[in-house]
């Protein structure tokens, strides 16, 4: 397109172009404020608002301002130079810390890690925004306006890896709308410029209307395709994906890895170290963090635990759960080889086809599927209790006397190094081996099974780790591909994939070796802030039906069930108002909408309110297993559940989250958008709950207003008739005119609206020529409309008003036209 500086005429199309060109920049700025400082984005918005009118003024006046004529190349150069100066200054300011550290040589590795990708991307976004803002002063030609989409698109694209929230997608959608309008205007201008002549549309402005309708159709179709294809093809579960999508995604991933020639360098710290209900969730990705394989040593039996623990949260202040000040123990690494792995167990599995246990020697075969695994010492016959009664201590093998853990066991003999990390989980237990592989760089806690007592690294550079009395292990930095082996004594309960048995629902009789909760821990795990009376009553009412001999575990299950009633699992829960206790809000005012932490928190608080020591456990809910039994732990599988203390038994896990939603934090697009809509409706419902009367009155008035508006002519006529303002002739004319107006809407839609310069006859004649003979108009009541037109003309122009009976005829004709009869 030639660079023309001739004076142009004002037009609506020109205005639209500049509005859209400014809008794309503003949308990019709005999106960028998720990452960069708000005052910066506000400044960008102000500059863009100023620049667009200046550009428009210059364009309309042929690059003349205040009598001076500006050279367009010079003006463009001026804006670019201004951009460079500002961008350079801003970069220096933003990187002043870095520069000073670089110059002084004090930049540590942690600084680089911290600055890393996110900092540089944010700076690049700011540079692009500056470019867009200053270029807004130089949007002289149509192409300039269209090219304004480039920096704004770049900003939003850079936002994706930095923010990863759904808001980015929304900003992109709005940006796409504005950019599409720009491109459509551009295409229109291209067609106009390339034409040597024009064949005008049948009515003025019809081409604009049809083009707008076409654009709306394209956008609508694109949105529908986007959401439906995304829902069909992009599934949260790798097994559900179509073969095509899996192949494409796998190939693209491999190509990208090859192109970048570097392993994934993302760093994961796992779930947050605290739960804060006053802020919204940061939605996890589907990044694969850990791969866990659990098997029984000495056999090929692979277990599929449902939970892997990271750490516990014990302190609660009403809106935030935090870790208790932990006792930590440093354990130092020693060299280790797999040959030193101490336990080689082979277990008999005792169930015949009738479900009776067999006394088998070593090497018994496991019938599949095994209802439970009974760990039986050789020579002992054991009848499993189908109700899941825990096995007696003497019926179990934890460490056979003839094969104890050698004192010289190397690696992290956690239990040995840290006696406080004692066996405090339910007995009986089964020793299992766990192979852990880090799929990405991680910092902090590693996922473990309960009662991990030994750990060693396949290779690595970790010198020490920290353990806590709650069984958590913090290894600091775990590099990608790091392999870890652990040995754990897992309770033989369903949560750990060992058995279908449950923790005891009846109180357990204490024995000498029964685990006990120290008083200080008991106080910690019963700590509560001020809790509302109704929350306490809620818990009391639930437990009033419990039998006397029910254990804490049984109580907790009752409370969990009660919490799940009328609850909705959502990743967009309402945020409690400041000062409100989160559990009370969740149970009574938040429509029980929340995700795992809400459910876990509610259960823990209610348990504590009833004197049951409880704590929140943060970890992973394993949802995805590969064919060889390896659990794929993704960021989206982060989960929180509750552990309650069962006297004389230990900590028992209780999960209050509805079963189908555990560890499912990256659902498919339909669920996501459904969640959004649900959130929006819920917010509206909560807001309107306290405003029912005003809303009801307002809505009623709105309906009345709409009715009155639609009937305004008749109402006015009735009122005028009552007042005697109009004669009966006048009323007759008006009624016929009203009937014609109503019927002519039908022809307007079928053909086009009557132009101001057209008489009704001319309009009807044009419609007959162009449309009324086509198949589209086969249902149109043509003759009735012709008659109605005659009535209309008589009503308008005849010296004597038609008879009053004509009104009914005209109305009937209009009705027939509108109903397509004839």
């Amino acid at each position: 397109m030639p660079m023309s500086t001739r004076t142009e005429r004002w037009s609506v199309e020109l205005l639209f172009r500049y509005i859209c060109a400014t809008l794309v920049t503003l949308i990019a700025a709005a999106g960028a404020q998720l990452v960069v400082r708000t005052d910066f984005t506000v400044a960008i918005a102000i500059v863009s608002f100023l620049g667009a009118p200046v550009s428009l003024y210059l364009r309309l006046h042929g690059m003349r301002i205040a009598g001076f004529s500006l050279s367009r190349p010079l003006w463009n150069t001026f804006t670019v130079v201004l951009f460079f100066v500002c961008a350079g200054a801003w970069t220096l300011i933003s990187m002043s810390d870095l520069l000073s550290l670089m110059l002084s040589g004090g930049a540590s590795q942690s600084f680089w890690l911290r600055f890393g990708a996110e900092g540089s991307l944010a700076l690049l976004m700011q540079v692009f925004l500056l470019f867009a803002a200053f270029r807004s002063f130089a949007l002289i030609s149509d192409k300039d306006a269209t090219l304004a989409t480039v920096p704004s698109f770049s900003v939003l694209l850079l936002l994706i890896p930095v923010h990863k929230g759904i808001e980015v997608v929304l900003y992109f959608l709005i940006w796409t709308l504005a950019a599409t309008i720009l491109f459509a205007l551009d295409h229109r201008a291209e067609l106009n410029d390339g034409a040597d002549g024009r064949i005008l549309s049948p009515t003025p402005g019809q081409d604009v209307r049809l083009a707008a309708r076409g654009l709306a159709t394209v956008m609508g179709a694109a949105l529908v395709a986007a959401f439906s294809l995304s829902a069909l093809l992009t599934s949260r579960n790798a097994d559900d994906r179509s073969a095509t999508e899996s192949a494409i995604t796998g190939l693209v991933g491999r190509l990208a890895q090859f192109a970048m020639s570097s392993p994934d360098s993302s760093l994961s710290g796992g779930p947050e170290r605290q739960i804060d209900f006053s802020s919204g969730p940061s939605l996890p990705s589907r990044a694969l963090l850990w791969q866990m394989r659990v098997w029984i040593p000495g056999s090929n039996r692979v277990l599929r635990p449902g939970y892997f623990r990271l750490f516990t949260l014990a302190r609660y202040n009403g809106s935030t759960w935090t870790q208790a000040p932990r006792e930590q123990k440093r354990v130092r690494l020693a060299n280790l080889s797999p040959q030193d792995w101490p336990l080689q167990y082979r277990f008999p599995f005792g169930s015949d086809s009738n479900g009776n246990s067999n006394s088998l020697g070593f090497g018994g075969l496991l019938p599949s599927p095994a209802p439970s695994v009974n760990v039986i010492p050789p020579g002992i016959t054991f009848q499993p209790d189908s109700a899941g009664t825990p096995l007696r201590q003497d019926q179990l093998i934890g460490r056979p006397k003839d094969n104890p853990v050698p004192d010289s066991f190397l690696g992290f003999a956690l239990r040995k190094a840290w006696p406080k990390m004692r066996q405090n989980f339910g007995t009986p237990t089964l020793p299992v081996r766990v192979s852990i592989r880090a799929n990405t760089n991680n910092v902090g806690f590693i996922p473990l099974l309960a009662n991990t007592r030994a750990l060693f690294l396949r290779q690595g550079h970790v010198d020490e780790l920290r353990t806590g009395s709650d069984g958590a292990v913090d290894m600091g930095f775990v590099a990608q591909e790091q392999g870890i082996r652990t040995l754990a004594d897992v309770p033989i309960i369903a949560e750990y994939g060992v058995s279908s048995a449950m923790a005891p629902t009846k109180k357990v009789v204490g024995q000498e070796q029964s685990p006990q909760l120290p008083p200080s821990d008991r106080d910690l795990y019963l700590q509560l802030p001020a809790l509302s009376t109704r929350a306490r009553h809620f818990a009391q009412n639930v437990l009033v039906k419990a039998p006397e001999d029910e254990s804490n575990y049984g109580h907790a299950r009752r409370l969990a069930f009660a919490i799940q009633q009328k609850s909705t699992y959502t990743l967009r829960p309402p945020i409690p108002p400041q000062g409100r206790e989160a559990t009370d809000f969740f149970l009574f005012d938040g429509n029980r909408r929340g995700y795992c932490t809400h459910f876990a928190s509610a259960l823990t608080v209610l348990c504590r309110s009833q004197g049951i020591p409880a704590r929140i456990v943060s970890g992973f809910a394993a949802q995805e297993y590969s064919s060889d039994g390896t659990a794929q732990l993704r960021e989206a599988n982060a989960h929180a559940w509750t552990e309650v203390w069962v006297d004389n038994w230990g900590w028992a896990p209780v999960d209050a989250t509805p079963t189908t939603d555990r560890g499912d934090n990256a659902p498919n697009i339909f669920s996501y958008w459904g969640d959004w809509f649900g959130f929006a409706f819920n917010q509206i419902e909560m807001w309107s709950r306290s405003r029912l009367w005003p809303l009801g009155i307002g809505f009623g008035m709105l309906i009345v207003g709409v009715y009155v508006f639609r009937r305004r002519t008749r109402i006015m006529a009735w009122w005028a008739r009552r007042r005697g303002y109009w004669s009966s002739d006048e009323l007759t004319r008006r009624d016929i005119i009203a009937a014609y107006d109503m019927a002519s809407v039908r022809l307007s839609r079928l053909f086009r609206p009557r132009a101001p310069f057209e008489t009704p006859d001319e309009w009807l004649s044009a419609a007959k020529d162009l449309v009324l003979d086509s198949p589209r108009a086969r249902l149109f009541a043509r003759h009735e409309f012709e008659q109605l037109t005659e009535y209309y003309l008589r009503a308008l122009y005849a010296p004597q008003a038609p008879e009053h009976s004509s009104v009914a005829v005209a109305r009937e004709l209009a009705r027939q036209v509108r109903r397509n009869k004839g």
Partner: protein, 445 residues
């Protein structure tokens, strides 16, 4: 179907989105952006494919028109083609383009010459479903010449211009031609050279130009007389409505000659000056023809032929328009020889002869001398229409001309012709100069 650059860019963008999402293991909702781009492409593709469904176009030649007073905006011959477009589909169509491939005819009807292909496009703003449109195709943007339609097609696209579809149109068996004649000056169409400027009686009232009638006297008005012939002075004096009476003087035809000399000076025969000269010639023809005076044309460029320019109902004849469209400054033989050849053996008087030339050669003077010796009434419009910076013209009203031009003017005057110099003054646009010359030619002071 053609994929445009924009569509390719969108495909790349969609791929980039996919790569970004996969590499960063982004949540599933990010894939919405990929499918949005794909959806845009698919929707636009569908619309582009359907843009020509049910659309048809028939090209026809309209009755050829010449210049007609009051018929048109502007001053060119009215369009000679029309397009009938119909949309029998159920989709409204916008942004259709009707594209023509025109081949310019050269001398002798040859068309295969390099750079003679012209592609022109007409934008069809909107074609609603079920609509039928018939629209004239205004082809006066084409350079002067005769064009033959080689091919035509309809091009449809989607609203974003991502895809283009095209459909060839069936051409009529007889190839369509369009004749683009030179522009006629507005003065030629609007001014009554008999009544003169401002309605006053002009000098031509005594001897009406080329009408073949001289003023005989004044008589009383009889119902049916042309009211424009009312003699107001007599009417005011006598109190009785009086009209002028004319008698035929035998001088009832005019001849307009354009001297398309291939000048020895390369800078003289520029395209612009030729177009301006032909504009003057055309305006003369129009002005004379609108007075219902038979007028003939000799465009003595490459052709040597006398053509009757008078058409029917006040329109110039098609042959004259074609001659004007074809005219090129390619005369190499002496003007008198060419003129004689063009006039044929007949030596009849032409009433009034108008000769438009920019030649500074002696053969022009010789020819003028021969014509005046024969008793022809001759007006020569001697043109110097080169741009001002070439001629160093001074202030308006006083020009400094090359001596050859002044000499030629004197020689022509001495040869017995009335000479009207057509000079491009400083800062004067050519149409103003030409109109002034036209007025001077037809209404000498």
């Amino acid at each position: 179907m053609r994929l445009t650059q924009r569509a390719s860019l969108l495909i790349v963008v969609a791929l980039c989105f996919y790569l970004v999402a996969v590499v960063n293991s982004l949540q599933s909702f990010y894939y919405v952006l990929v499918w949005l781009a794909v959806g845009l492409l698919a929707a636009c593709l569908g619309i582009a494919l359907l843009s020509l469904t049910g659309t048809d176009c028939v090209l026809r030649e309209r009755r050829v028109s010449g210049y007609a007073r009051g018929e048109l905006e502007g001053n060119k011959a009215s369009p000679q083609w029309e397009a009938s477009l119909g949309n029998s589909g159920s989709l409204n169509k916008t942004g259709l383009t009707l594209e023509f491939r025109l081949r310019r005819q050269e001398e002798g009807g040859a068309t295969r010459k390099k750079n003679s292909l012209v592609v022109s496009r007409f934008l069809v703003e909107a074609l609603p479903a079920g609509a039928k449109l018939t629209a004239p195709l205004d082809l006066d943007f084409l350079p002067r010449g005769i064009y033959v339609l080689e091919g035509a097609r309809l091009i449809g696209s989607d609203v974003l211009g991502l895809f283009r579809a095209s459909k060839r149109l069936t051409l009529p068996e007889t190839p369509l031609k369009v004749v683009v004649a030179p522009v006629a000056l507005p003065l030629a169409l609007k001014h009554d050279f008999v009544r003169g400027v401002g309605g006053q009686e002009g000098p031509l009232s005594m001897s009406r130009l080329g009408t073949g009638e001289d003023l005989r006297g004044v008589r009383s008005y009889v119902p049916g007389d042309d009211w424009r012939h009312v003699h107001w002075a007599t009417t005011a004096r006598t109190g009785e409505l009086s009209v002028r009476e004319f008698e035929r003087n035998g001088r009832d035809a005019a001849l307009v000659i354009w001297d398309g000399a291939l000048s020895a000076s390369p800078s003289r025969g520029s395209q612009t000056t030729t177009e301006d000269e032909l504009c003057l010639v055309t305006s003369l023809l129009v002005a004379i023809d609108t007075r219902r005076t038979p007028v003939s044309l000799m465009a003595l460029g490459g052709e040597e032929e006398k053509i009757s320019a008078s058409g029917q109902e006040g329109l110039l004849a098609r042959e004259a328009l074609a001659a004007l469209a074809r005219a090129q400054p390619q005369r190499t033989r002496p003007l008198a020889t060419v003129l004689a050849h063009a006039q044929g053996t007949g030596n009849e008087g032409s009433g009034q002869v108008f000769l438009v030339s920019s030649s500074l050669q002696s053969d022009l003077v010789e020819c003028v001398s021969a014509l005046t010796a024969r008793g022809e009434s001759l007006v020569v419009a001697l043109c110097e229409l080169r741009p001002h910076n070439v001629l160093r013209l001074s202030l308006p009203g006083r020009s400094v001309l090359p001596s050859a031009f002044e000499a030629q003017e004197k020689a022509l005057q001495m040869a017995g012709a009335r000479v009207v110099t057509v000079l491009l003054g400083e800062g004067e646009p050519a149409p103003v100069v030409l109109e002034r010359a036209l007025f001077e030619i037809l209404e000498p002071q």
